[in-house]
């Protein structure tokens, strides 16, 4: 799975996610990536979010929307909301990662798997890593 989230100079956010799913999937299985609110979500009132990991759990947690709701309704910061969603996912057995940006230009990411490919760029900052 791949994904991107961005905030532009006007403070608008967007998210995109694309995937081939899981190896040897059967029966027309669809994961969280194309499900709006689960693996992909963007709302200028809170954040843009893209997810990767064990999709069934991200669907059940409505993970991407949950992150935005924790900010909008719960008053959490972007990183607090992201960490909270990952903790909630772990509590039901899900593993994976999230990336997110907020309309104010803040960015956050986190993952509960041993590995995650990720990168970030801004007007004055850049990093790319495979962890």
């Amino acid at each position: 799975t791949i994904g991107a989230v961005a905030v532009d100079t006007h403070g608008h956010v967007a998210a995109a996610t694309s995937t081939g799913g899981i190896t040897a999937k059967r029966w027309g299985r669809i994961g969280d990536s194309p499900l709006i609110g689960a693996g992909t979500y963007a709302d200028d009132r809170a954040a843009a979010v893209s997810a990767t990991g064990s999709g069934e759990y991200f669907i059940r947690a409505v993970a991407a929307h949950e992150l935005a709701a924790r900010m909008r309704l719960g008053g959490e910061t972007l990183q607090q909301a992201l960490d909270g969603v990952l903790a909630d996912l772990e509590g039901i057995g899900g593993k994976g990662g999230l990336i997110a940006v907020a309309p104010d230009g803040e960015a956050a990411w986190g993952f509960t798997t041993p590995a995650m490919y990720r990168g970030m760029a801004s007007a004055d900052d850049r990093c790319v890593a495979i962890y």
Binding site: A4, V7, S18, A24, K25, P34, A42, P114, M116
Partner: protein, 169 residues
Amino acid sequence: MTKWRIVIHGGAGSERIAHHDPTHEARALAGLNAALDAGAAILADGGSAVDAVEAAARVLEEDPCFNAGRGSVLTEDGVVELDAAIMDGRDRRAGAVAGLRTTRAPVTLARRLMEQGPHVFLAGVAADRFAAKAGIEQVGNDFFVLPERRRQLEEALAAGNDADPIKYG
């Protein structure tokens, strides 16, 4: 004016690099950098966040290092099925597609659906037909399939129920 920013991911997995190719890590890093370049160039020029995320995702869909577009994992039947979504935070417009087999750029189809389609979510062969009708490039399913992914499928099938579902995700 907000400081622009773009963040990308190329997946998360159960091993650091679940891959037999020793050059994979360097190629994956190059792919991530190329995706950042594509998105950052748009944002630095005052472009929109939705244009930036589509551009970055397209680079990663074309890069065989990642499980999206060309290089995707295989279903039990040995074919590639692709899913994608895009969402614009300005007005929460969204487009999503699932189970594509012949559309080269799934995220671009999702974008087209978001902007021009009457629905939010399309699936299966009919979604590929929608893409063809919209003039979005169609390719044979073999275009997406790499030998390494066939090996991984064989490994997963041999492991049966013990296979890790996100090992190559």
